[in-house]
């Protein structure tokens, strides 16, 4: 998927971005159009299977379907026909149901978009809460210490599907405050929006919280304070300053939920686009899959442009005129609690791993099913009577190393693509709304089921947050005065990269990557049904969570332990890398 067309180099930047989007979208839609032919599984078989699960398709039936759908004509004919139909406002008919695709996709899209806006509202509220303290103290010049960011890390590590199950059970079934399932009115939106919005809000808030001190540290803030301007005014301006770097994160984090909230859509029985796309993909029902992909691509580009406009509005002419100093974090001392938090997390995880490694994670004992925590099984047992402590301990290393490796590769990819500026921006917009499952299907189609497939698939879509962040930060940094000064002193690109560009990007990128680690673990596990990743019964944290999810109410410990372990891991990494000089200066 190369996106820097040679001919585009001489074009004005705006056109380069348009070309980037067009190339990326074309590549993606073509890849999707080839899916049934790449996968090696007869679409006639999957279509018939979707129509009627318990039947045994006879050769005659398969032939009839193949002929009816014109499968022998090959992907190009189909793609051409679909594109031609689109021009007339007709996206074809579903291979499975024979019904027109466009009404289905638009309905599902509207549902998912509404849900996403609800999640966005929650995200904004949670992000505000997370960064409120820094904002308040910073505007009053009382920001004396950095923050560990442990709270945000814990919230961001909450698995969305677990939060969804919890909310549906407690607020829906037990208390009856909101509908536990269905999509019948604004009330049914509350719980799913919370489940989706809280972790996203913590993620966005955590990033904002990290960049705010730098904004307060800039010289304008000192001047304004000296002039006696009210703290509220200073806070608002600092927020504008910090937001412009964080806003692009909304695209992969929140807008991406339109197609990527399959698990939550299932739990709340919401007829959204994520489920539609997944069902179509599994049945290899091409017309709805293509149309859903196109809708997601358009959404990504539209949202990308909107966010870009919002950033321009926030920063105003400063960005355009190169009058922006870059945000560089001040040397705040580490918070006093930091060593304690880091130490406790490290100790707890170490105990968990060591104690777990001494036990057998694979021994099935059907008589010991779902036992609550006891001296024999300190964390209880799972539905097959396996010891949870053992499974957590044995899974720790594999989970952590795969997640770290995937995150590192994604971050590196994101850094490179984000640095490619305008052309990269188009690619980022197109890919950031793409559900990981679709990437998983494409990978399965090419490589077949494999242990590394899941990691590949996640890397394929996982770089977008980092690319968005890199390009936003670099845009500011390039606009700054000191960069111009260095250039005029004869600094080459290598020097600029090492001394100006990378230092401006890396700390924020690192924080972002660490906040996203737990999500990566879960996404990796969510591709298991395609045969990607380690096969059971290998213990792995994401799998522990997803395979025990149905038992969340019956035996809460089966999901609480892995969720807590994941949160510990997240806090440890975030707090362990919190920047700033040591306390004893």
């Amino acid at each position: 998927m190369s996106v820097t067309p040679d001919g585009a180099r001489g074009l004005p930047t705006r056109w380069r971005a348009v070309a980037g989007r067009a190339v990326a979208a074309t590549a993606l839609l073509t890849a999707v159009a080839f899916l049934p032919w790449l996968s090696g599984t007869d679409p006639a078989l999957t279509v018939l299977r979707a129509r009627s699960a318990e039947q045994d398709p006879t050769p005659a039936q398969l032939a009839a379907v193949r002929e009816r759908l014109g499968l022998d004509e090959g992907p190009f004919v189909h793609l051409g026909r679909w594109l031609e139909g689109l021009g007339r406002g007709d996206a074809g008919t579903s291979w499975v149901s024979g019904e027109p695709v466009l009404p289905q996709v638009t309905t599902a899209f509207a549902v998912s978009l509404t849900l996403m806006l609800g999640a966005l509202a929650v995200t904004v509220a949670v992000a505000a809460l997370v960064s409120a303290r820094t904002l308040y103290l910073g505007s009053r010049q009382r920001l004396l210490r950095g923050r560990a960011g442990a709270g945000a890390a814990v919230l961001a590590a909450l698995p969305k599907f677990l939060l969804a199950s919890l909310l549906a059970t407690v607020c829906g079934v037990w208390l009856g405050w909101f509908p536990s399932q269905g999509w019948t009115g604004p009330a049914s939106m509350v719980l799913p929006a919370l489940a989706l919005g809280v972790p996203s809000g913590a993620m966005i808030g955590g990033l904002l919280d990290q960049s705010l001190p730098a904004a307060f540290h800039e010289s304008w803030a000192r001047t304004w304070r000296a002039y006696g301007l009210p703290p509220g005014r200073i806070a608002r301006t600092a927020l504008r300053r910090a937001l412009s770097g964080v806003l692009p994160q909304l695209l992969p984090t929140v807008v991406g939920l339109v197609g990527g909230a399959v698990a939550v859509e299932k739990i709340f029985n919401i007829p959204g686009l994520g489920r539609l796309a997944l069902e179509a993909a599994v049945a290899q029902d091409l017309p709805p899959l293509q149309t859903a992909t196109l809708a997601l691509v358009l959404l990504g580009v539209g949202a990308g442009l909107a966010i870009q406009a919002l950033r321009r509005a926030l920063l105003g002419p400063a960005l355009r005129d190169g009058a922006l100093p870059a945000l560089h974090a001040p040397a705040l001392p580490r918070p006093r609690s930091l060593p304690w938090i880091t130490g406790c997390c490290a100790l707890a995880l170490l105990t968990l791993v060591v104690a777990g490694l001494l036990r057998d994670p694979l021994h099935v004992d059907t008589a010991a099913r779902l036992l609550p925590p006891s001296p024999d099984h300190p964390l209880g047992t799972d539905p097959l009577g396996r010891d949870l402590l053992a499974r957590l301990g044995h899974g720790a290393l594999r989970t952590a190393s795969v997640a770290l490796a995937v995150t590192a590769v994604s971050a590196l990819l994101g850094l490179l693509i984000g640095a490619a500026s305008q052309a990269g921006a188009g690619l980022t917009e197109v890919v950031s709304t793409l559900p990981a499952v679709l990437a998983g299907l494409l990978v399965t189609a090419v490589t077949g089921p494999s242990v590394w497939g899941a990691a590949c698939a996640v890397c394929l879509v996982g770089w977008t947050p980092y690319a968005a962040q890199t390009s936003a930060l670099l845009e500011q940094e390039r606009a700054s005065g000191h960069l111009l000064a260095s250039v005029s002193f004869g600094a080459g690109p290598g020097y600029l990269l090492r001394h100006h560009l990378l230092p401006a990007v890396l700390p924020a990128l690192l924080r972002n990557a660490l906040l996203r680690l737990p999500t990566t673990v879960l996404v990796l596990a969510s591709l298991g049904f395609l045969g990607l990743g380690e096969q059971p019964p290998t213990p792995e944290w994401g799998r522990l969570l997803s395979e025990n999810q149905p038992y969340a109410e019956l035996a809460p410990w089966t999901v609480l332990a892995p969720a807590a372990a994941l949160a510990l891991f997240a806090v440890l990494t975030v707090a362990g890398t919190a920047t700033g000089p040591r306390r004893s200066r």
């Binding site: 149901s97 609800g118 504008r240 299932k266 007829p271 298991g528 019964p537 019956l554």
Partner: protein, 506 residues
């Protein structure tokens, strides 16, 4: 700063705007007042795939909710009972005559022989013929206004059973469109009439007052499709629905005892061994696997008690199976653990399971441990069913944990045995080619007398089990969630009926 606040205001204004569109776009009134006036609210598990066309999976919805009827129906013993036909007669080997009852379609027209012939012809000519007709050539003719003559090319002793299939429900001529699609909306003959179908999420049914069997007690049905089992159970517990079908094992224990009703199902879970290639082409190794595997431990663990230990291929939901069961003789001698280790040196047993039914991957893990104890080295492959079906049929696995309905749409067990275990079966995952099995299945298929047919089926079962191509594990039970105030729900092992004229809210 002004821009910021303007941006925020704009963002805040967008929310309600789109929320408004969502309410009008999807919801519609009436969902809150559901249950009013005794309407039944039902949560079904499998969303419609083809707008409730009888030629797809959706056919069972039509029979479950008593929307459409066939010429015949199945009684509790699995024998054919009158439905739209009051009686039938086999005039010779290949010809049957059916006398129709006086009934009307929900669009007001009469059920005539003409209409029945038209409906059966459409099923015959459907682009993908319903499975129930795939091994028979059927010609329907109207003898007079209320007599239909059916002719088959070859003798078909189970024709009345076939006609009970939900795929052969008789709809009014209006239902069949020129482009081959079939719409059951307002065209059935049953006590309930579909008035509206909203995508894959909801359907509204009203009582059909002209039903030949009398007025239904419930004034209507509100159906919602909830694919997620936890959500379905939650809907029942939260009082959103009165009936929720197929409550998963993990959720069943959370329901009140009075609301959960278990039904033995015709579904048997078994371990299918690949006899054609790989490890299990070797009979003593198959026997070793059979001896090692104990389905009994799955009952209380994986299935939470909602299953019976397997007796054979057919379980307690098939009433005659236990009566006519034949002892299995002539099995291969099982290899010992040491022999297994020696034989399989350097080779792993590829054990497949699919994620569509949550219990199967769990069962696979338990079986893995049992097989490892017997000396095998096991590697699992767990995926979504459609992702692995091609590999399964190509014999790329040694063993599969398989959940199978043993009475297919014909309601006759021979169809299952023939497709899964005979040399030319289309679904022969075990890759079995055994002359004795083929002969036994053919003998059962040709038998016309019901009791004798059952005995021959059980003889075929014994032949199949002798080869160790399949190791039955458990016979599943289905848990139906039914609120306390609902009466008259049908608990059908074949999952073909759920609601009828007598179902009501007290």
């Amino acid at each position: 700063m002004r821009t910021t606040s303007r941006g925020i205001v704009a963002a805040l204004a967008l929310g309600p705007l789109l929320a408004g569109c969502f309410a009008s776009g999807d919801g519609g009134p009436g969902t809150d007042g559901a249950g009013a006036g005794g309407r039944l609210r039902i949560a079904l598990a499998v969303p419609p795939v083809q707008a409730l066309s009888p030629y797809s999976n959706d056919a069972t919805v039509l029979s479950k909710l008593s929307v459409a009827e066939g010429l015949t129906a199945l009684d509790e013993d699995g024998a054919a009972a009158p439905a739209l036909a009051t009686s039938w007669k086999r005039t010779n080997d290949t010809t049957w005559t059916f006398e129709l009852r006086e009934a009307t379609f929900q669009d007001g027209t009469d059920v005539t022989a003409e209409a029945v012939v038209g409906a059966l012809d459409h099923a015959n000519r459907a682009e993908t013929r319903p499975r129930v007709l795939s091994d028979v050539t059927l010609t329907a003719k109207a003898a007079d206004a209320d007599t239909v003559t059916l002719t088959t090319k070859t003798p078909d002793p189970v024709l009345p059973l076939r006609l009970a299939s939900p795929a052969l429900g008789i709809l009014s001529p209006k239902a069949y469109a020129k482009d081959g699609t079939v719409s059951p909306v307002g065209t059935g003959t049953g006590p309930f009439e579909i008035t509206r179908l909203t995508g894959k999420t909801k359907a509204t049914l009203d009582r059909y007052d002209g039903y030949w069997g009398g007025r239904a007690k419930a004034p209507g049905i509100d159906v919602s499709w909830i694919a997620d089992g936890t959500a379905r159970a939650g809907a029942l517990r939260g009082g959103d629905v009165d009936i929720a079908e197929w409550i998963p094992t993990a959720q069943a224990e959370l329901l009140d005892e009075s609301t959960r009703h278990e039904v033995p199902s015709v579904r048997t879970d078994s371990l299918v061994l690949n006899t054609a290639s790989g490890l299990f082409a070797d009979a003593p190794l198959r026997a070793a696997a059979r001896a090692a595997v104990d389905g009994g431990v799955l009952v209380d663990s994986v299935f939470g008690g909602y299953a019976d230990e397997a007796e054979g291929l057919f379980g307690p939901a098939v009433p005659w199976a236990a009566r006519d069961r034949v002892e299995v003789t002539g099995r291969a001698k099982a290899a010992t653990a040491a022999q297994v280790r020696e034989e399989t040196r350097g080779r792993t047993l590829r054990l497949a399971a699919y994620t569509n039914r949550a219990e199967l991957p769990e069962a696979a893990t338990v079986l893995q441990q049992q097989l490892e104890k017997a000396g095998f080295t096991v590697k699992q492959d767990v995926r979504e069913y459609t992702q692995m079906e091609a590999d399964l049929l190509a014999g790329k696995y040694d063993a599969l944990v398989f959940s199978r309905v043993t009475l297919l749409d014909t309601g006759d067990a021979v169809a299952y045995l023939a497709s899964d275990y005979t040399g030319d079966g289309v679904y022969n995952i075990a890759g079995l080619r055994d002359a004795k099995v083929d002969r036994a299945v053919r003998a059962a298929a040709e038998e016309g007398d019901t009791a004798e047919r059952h005995r021959k089926i059980m003889r075929a079962e014994a032949e199949i089990l002798r080869t160790d191509a399949v190791v039955p594990l458990v016979h599943e039970k289905v848990v139906q969630g039914i609120a306390d105030d609902v009466e008259g729900v049908l608990l059908d092992p074949r999952e073909r009926s759920l609601v009828d004229v007598d179902t009501r809210i007290e």
